[in-house]
Symmetry: C2
Subunit: 485 residues, 2 copies
């Protein structure tokens, strides 16, 4: 995008001083969020009902503030919004996020009229994000959507028409091992729209991968150009909400957008090189793969497992997702036959060999050596661990289970770092963990492994089908951009 437009957008995401208009001491999410970040001393409260909020002065109008304000967050009654935006313009504020709902998304004539009035007031004098949205989360500047947002900066950019999708990304970032460059929820898009954010994040050096949740568009041609512009520069992963008749109906009443048939959207995404996924969880899991992993050079996977039955299911799943689980080369098999105990194991790909998780005491032929042998096979592009072994380790090693687990983790990491950093092959880890598991000891042992791999920058997922699907998107992108065969 043009430098002047880029600078304008970058300014919006990195304001110096922020006014919260309609601030409240009672469960006001924007106030609570901003008071927890580095921006907290540059936040001004405006609400004629209060003279003080959380011990700080509260102004009755934005016009009363002397300092120059860059950005306004507006959470007042919908009918008041046009007048308040007029005051922001008068005060010289360059951008406003309008939290308030009750505009075109209601489908009512009044709602449409109010949104038109807002547009007319704003016209060229102030940039608007919203209305009916959660606005911006940007760890670098301190803008935040929820009080629980992490302050750690990352490489993921999120553009979401839905407030709760943006909220969910912000809230669950740490849990999902995602850190963000910037997240924006833009709602009804009365002014700034998806293409503006796409072009900005495409040029933003901090953003490595873009996640997009979109329900509809006001200008198909402009969206097409912006999607192509962004997808040429970095991976763009997208969910189109409202693909079906009923979903469409719901989307119209949610953000009031024109929608389109599923085929139109699929063609649009394909033509632009955007990776389309079908729901929010897939979006999150795919983005995590792009955020944390190098691209694979091909679709050939080695599965390292501890169960025959699950190996079979996982191999089928790989095939269904376009990934192959080829036999190992003869050299690998020879080396594995030396290293892997035979009884109850299957020395092949998948390597279904629980005893290897007990080879942690010897220096030669240990678990990490076995991982390196598998990683070095020329038939293999990516290594995928299916770890479901902690409860077995607990049974076998009892009160020494955690110590044993730490040895296992060290050796898995040693082999995995060799695979990724020396051989340049991706490593994915699934730690099978049920959300409803009520055995805290079991949770703890599994989370030790998960945390260690996350800290070392590997993508980690809680189930094998999730990791295989995320990897397959990574491979498809690599193939599509000529980085894999």
């Amino acid at each position: 995008m043009k430098q002047s437009k880029y600078d304008e957008m970058d300014g919006i995401f990195h304001p110096g001083k922020v006014a919260i208009i309609g601030a409240s001491p009672v469960a006001d999410i924007a106030t609570l969020a901003l008071l927890k970040t580095k921006i907290k001393n540059n936040v001004y409260f405006i609400n004629p009902k209060y003279t003080e909020i959380f011990g700080r002065k509260c102004y009755s109008s934005v016009l009363d503030i002397k300092e120059p304000i860059d950005y306004a967050i507006i959470g007042v009654n919908a009918n008041l919004v046009p007048r308040i935006v007029g005051e922001c313009i008068q005060r010289g504020i360059r951008a406003a996020h309008i939290f308030t709902s009750g505009f075109s998304e209601t489908g009512s004539p009044e709602g449409h009229a109010l949104e038109k009035e807002l547009r007319d007031v704003a016209a060229g004098k102030i940039r608007i994000i919203g209305p009916n949205c959660f606005g911006i989360y940007c760890p670098r500047s301190g803008l935040a959507i929820v009080p629980e947002s992490s302050e750690v900066e990352g490489n993921v950019g999120v553009i979401a028409q839905s407030g709760s999708v943006a909220e969910s990304f912000s809230y669950f970032g740490k849990t999902k091992n995602l850190h963000f460059s910037k997240v924006v929820s833009y709602g009804n898009a009365a002014d700034l729209d998806c293409p503006d954010f796409l072009e900005y994040m495409a040029d933003d050096p901090q953003t490595k991968v873009i996640a997009l949740y979109i329900e509809g568009s006001k200008n198909g041609k402009r969206l097409h150009e912006a999607l192509r512009y962004a997808a040429c520069r970095k991976p763009v992963i997208a969910v189109k909400g409202g693909l079906t008749d009923n979903g469409n109906r719901v989307a119209r009443s949610h953000t009031g957008q024109l929608t389109g048939t599923p085929a139109v959207w699929e063609t649009l995404f394909r033509q632009c090189g955007v990776i389309q996924v079908s729901n929010h969880d897939e979006l999150v899991n795919t983005v995590a793969a792009f955020s944390h992993s190098p691209l694979p050079c091909g679709n050939r996977v080695s599965l390292v497992s501890n169960s025959g039955g699950f190996s079979v299911i996982q191999t089928d799943l790989c095939a269904a997702e376009g990934m192959a689980v080829p036999p190992f080369g003869e050299k690998t098999l020879d080396r594995l036959r030396q290293l892997v105990p035979r009884a109850g194991t299957s020395i092949g790909n998948p390597l279904d060999a629980w005893p290897i998780f007990y080879k942690v005491f010897q220096k030669e032929g240990s678990l990490s050596d076995i991982i390196k042998v598998v990683a070095e096979d020329d038939n293999i592009d990516t290594l995928v661990f299916m770890f479901d072994q902690f409860r077995y380790i607990r049974r076998a090693r009892k009160h020494e289970a955690i110590d044993h687990m730490n040895l296992v983790i060290g050796m898995m990491l040693e082999g995995s770092c060799y695979c990724r950093d020396v051989l340049g092959k991706p490593v994915f880890l699934s730690v099978a963990l049920d959300p409803f598991l009520d055995d805290d000891e079991d949770r703890k042992g599994n989370l030790l492994l998960k945390n260690a791999f996350e800290q070392n920058g590997f993508p980690v997922y809680p189930a094998s089908d999730i990791s295989i699907r995320a990897l397959s998107r990574l491979y498809k992108y690599a193939a599509q951009t000529g980085k894999a065969i």
Copy 2:
């Protein structure tokens, strides 16, 4: 099946006295499992290496035990198995579970020869489960696969060729809210095979739904007959492991079975009325729906949600799974307009209306009233909650969040019990919970809801796509058996 065959099978699952041959005090999973159940005082240990295990006498041979033994669990070196089985026959034991691997699944001539020798020894004189399997878990008799198996009896029967699939069902039963009539892992099926277990569980009055994991079969015609016999009597949910070329290769080396093309299996399952699912998680989640829910009378769902964006995604997902999310009738809309606060909500189906979770203090027009109104709509066959609200309740109600949550739970239950027990319509609950969530307070609040619904016999899932998929299988079965339109 014939009464005599039924009695024989029922006897195998409910033995009086059990011998563990090859018992060991060191991490022997069968020993540890059986010593935790009601059968513990009827277990005999056999191992010439020991005279005592866990303070009890250990015999050097099964021939030394004076009491009549009904069932043997054999975990000795593969080469010794035929001789040990001979001794069991000599001792008058009617059935043996052979844990040991190293038979036909190795693919080696020696393995095949050993399995043939085993069959020749057993021929008609003793029934064999296995080899290369985990055997039986039956809460009523006390047979168990893992030390963590629950002793609570349930209505789910599991037949799994894979030991780890059966182990996983046994271990995760409590977490997955599944309780079992019986679980069997039958491995290489040298004698008793999948059809024997299918016919038995089809006639077993304790079993309401049958979960099947199968990799291959020795006798297609017999399997066809048994699948049809069982599926005519109760829902049979099946995963075929090894549907793809590579998966097939892995399955052959896992349990040494002849397999077949995916189309052959799909046709077989369809002809017999078996519900085929594609992986283990789907098997577990589908079985839970059949175990806990009445059948729906149609495919029309109402979603009760607290997010617009996620409502759109979930509506699309319903359509993709053959479920409809129709608009409410006019009468319902009128009643909801009286009860549901308007701002930021969408009064329609999905009901995207977070403020209803705060209507817990009034007697009239409360959350439970709103649920009842939705449930009573003639256009709706099933009610699905998408609960993702606890973190919002925490922000709003702070240290009173758990108290508030308990009020919400009480009202959700009141409405849901009315829907299921008075109106006869299924209720499904998703409590969005990430396995890797490290916020214990958030986990606790969500698990309160999950536990309360489970205790009241509702199916509960940790993500909305999982609940919709499980419900869609339930609906398809209802439609296929003429119980729904």
